[in-house]
Amino acid sequence: MDAVESQIAEWRTYVAKAPAVDGRDLDELEVHLRDQIAELIAAGLAADEAFLIAVKRMGDVDTLSREFAREHSDRLWKQLVLTGEDEPERASNGWLQALFFAVAAAVTMQVARLVAGFPEEEAQWFFRNFSFFVLPFLAGYFGHRRQITTRGWVLTLAPFALLALAVNLYPYGSGSATEILVMAHLPILLWFAIAYPYMGGTFDSHERRMDFVRFSGEWGIYYVLIALGGGVLMGLTALILEPIQPDLGERVIEWVIPSGAAGAVIVAAWLVESKQHVVENMAPVLTMLFTPLFAVMLTVAAVTYAFSGITGEFDRGLLSVFDALMVVVLGLVLYALSAREPSQPAGLMDRVQLLAVASALVLDLMVLGSMVARIGEFGFTPNRVAALGLNVVLLVNLTVTAWRSFRFLRGRIAFHPVERWQTSYLPIFALWAVTVVVVLPPLFAFE
């Protein structure tokens, strides 16, 4: 019997190498194997014959691992990527293609900057279009990396082309509020357009949507880190070059920063793709840190507002502040979700998060209420409509999230509907961004 025990242990180590199989799954499979062996021995086979047959019936490890990976794709984020018949072999590094796209973006940005004469001359069109100088290259990078079809390429580049036309052909008045709104919302809209090549030429898969959310979080963190490093580099360069010639440092900065910022977009994306295999995601860690802090702050604020009421001057910026707050709360929810093991039972963190969401909702409803009462005084402007719209979009999301989380904590529903709601709602944000960029300007006559 000892021989079989050691064989089972060997088998277990071998299967444990499969990326998406965790400890509990292994226990389950091992018990299954032992039951099978016991039955075969009872039927009269020798121990090692029984072991061989049981292992064969279990199936080959590669296929097993692929099936587990399909089901538990979130586990792949910390593990080695497996190669199989339906996943194209990825270059383990791919830094050369990343470099190509990064350089392309940097060069395009530099050419555009020179044409616009920034920063000497004011060039509205440069600011309006700067995302077009960078983000198509990011889309190209992912399209190339995921090896999407020709049809995929067309569908990837079409939104960029159409939006470029829309944004540039609209006759904005000078210093118009709608133009500024468009400039603010365009990068966000184009970021959603990048989701298509990132997900390999499809929008349907909810698993991949969640992967895109994870990617976005990590990309943001890496970009900030690169920007900080770049800032230090530029600062020191300027100071070092100061003695040589007074404004040499400034000229260098003028040239390097736009191109550096553009190239860094691709580099950050490449870093996320590379480290996906090896390093823990940082966004969920930050989320875990800040959720309790925000919960405390929001609860205290909600209670204070409830007792003192919203007196005082109606600040135009108040709604934007609450939009920002809701965005942060949504981010906390989303990134906690992205790292949560679906089979985990409800815990303290979930309760704290629900508290944060509920307080944010209460606060927002109070502010909205007082605002609606005064809307007659101030009327509709593009900024107000944009802020209000975003607030409503976020409000709906967080309300349903709070409701489903509450039911999950009570044990009425599984965790799956909570996650599903978030991934299903993502297109609505994209739709809202489209509305602001394409529909709002003509609606307000481009003022």
């Binding site: 509990r24 389950e28 018990v31 299954h32 097993l64 089901e71």
Partner: protein
Amino acid sequence: MHIDKDLVAASATPLVLAILAEDESYGYAILKRVRELSGGELEWTDGMLYPLLHRLRRLGYVTTDWRTPPEGRRRRYYAITDDGKAALKEHQRQWMTVTRALADVWKGPRGLLMAGGVA
């Protein structure tokens, strides 16, 4: 007998749900029951059952529990939920439609009665 892999895949979920609707069970026992029910014709690869069970759990159709029965080893038991029973009903409805259509065309006046087929 060779059974088309699409057919095996399509029938896996309703089969597992139906077995769990009879009584809660664990992986190995479910597999044995499948063999029993199909007279040994349906030979699933054992390992494939578990991702399926995990998927059903994620969708909320089954719940799981680690338990040690008196005479055996510590195992993971699966039990069907109300959502799972509803999903099973839906699968039944779909399969009845399909099998009825097939039965009609095979037995009908101008239909083909396959040699050794279902009477």
